[in-house]
Amino acid sequence: MAFDPVPLFFVLGFLARLARSDLKIPGQLYEALSIYLLLAIGLKGGVELAKEPFFEVAPKAGVTILLGVLIPLVAFPILTRLGRLPRPDAASIAGHYGSVSAVTFAVALDFLRAKNVPFEAYAPLFLVLLEIPGIIVGILLARMGNLQTVRWGPLAHEVLLGKSIVLLAGGLVVGWLAGPEKIAPLEPFYFVGFKGALSLFLLEMGLVAAGQIDALKRAGVFLTVFGVVMPLISATLGFIAAAIAGLSAGGAMLLATLAASASYIAAPAAMRIAVPEANPALSIGASLVVTFPFNILVGIPLYYFVSQQIIG
């Protein structure tokens, strides 16, 4: 049997770090690759968006935003009631799961391309739309009753002008303004090389995730289980939203993957500023060490299978 190499790179990195290999990530390579991947996703989406009439996309965008608001509202009571977590921790974790992981999305994109499954090519727009609402809902859940304690200024900044939003949305706009023909000469750099860059990034994510295994220990059994169950719940919500929005099987699979993914870049940064009393080890343990690998290795093939059954 032939395995897909992209997730294997993650496994390689994960095992190398667990075995305490001295293989290290040059921090700036990590940053360079993430800049590249975000721009590439945005550009591609922007080129496609230019082809779509506005009224075709707008309602789908609306449903997507609602999905981003809904997921943390579902996650929060699970975390406080079942998990008996204090409000700040529960709210912060809910915010992480309401937001998204761009790399998980990239792996899903690559999965569909490898299988030649068609999908709404402007799907990166969903990624952009889903990043922020979940984080805001998470902060509101944490601060209910005393909203005046939040330093909204630096926070709005952190959330709206964070690296990933700027690159994704910026890429969308550049792609949209330039259009397919003018973007064509950038293809070898941004698109032909995409899968390779993604493989290298997943190697690094494997090292990073295994390096956070301590965080998982502090997170405990409940959050470990949560890290597997919550993506399944969110993916289900994602499929429902996709049905409402009338997406294709491929598009539904992408939206389910986005819903199932949890943020480990934008949300941690925002929560450190907005909800400092939340223990970052808990949210990172769950989102990065459990949910991220789960989605890469099990979730994506699963959501694909489901999408083909119910829509394809």
Partner: protein
Amino acid sequence: MKTRATRQLVVIIAEEAIEGLLTTDVMRLGAHGYSVCEVRGQGSRGSRSGEWEAAKTVRIEVLCSPEVADAILDHVLTHYFRHYAVVAYTFEVGVLRPEKF
């Protein structure tokens, strides 16, 4: 060795997520400058390797008057120590051009 005017050097080691907040506060409290370098390390919250966003740590050094040093340290103590990974210390140094700090 020549006798020189003295000032305090304040060093704050903290998670990078709050670098912006800290440096804004430091300047607001009366410092005229600061220098930041990236570090990795270990402490009570475990190891911080610096490999990805949330695991970055910075070392901020501020050359300032004893009064400003006190203000900075007190501020760090009240506002950041409880919830953030922060280490802070201070010591006296001889400086050139004392009027600058």
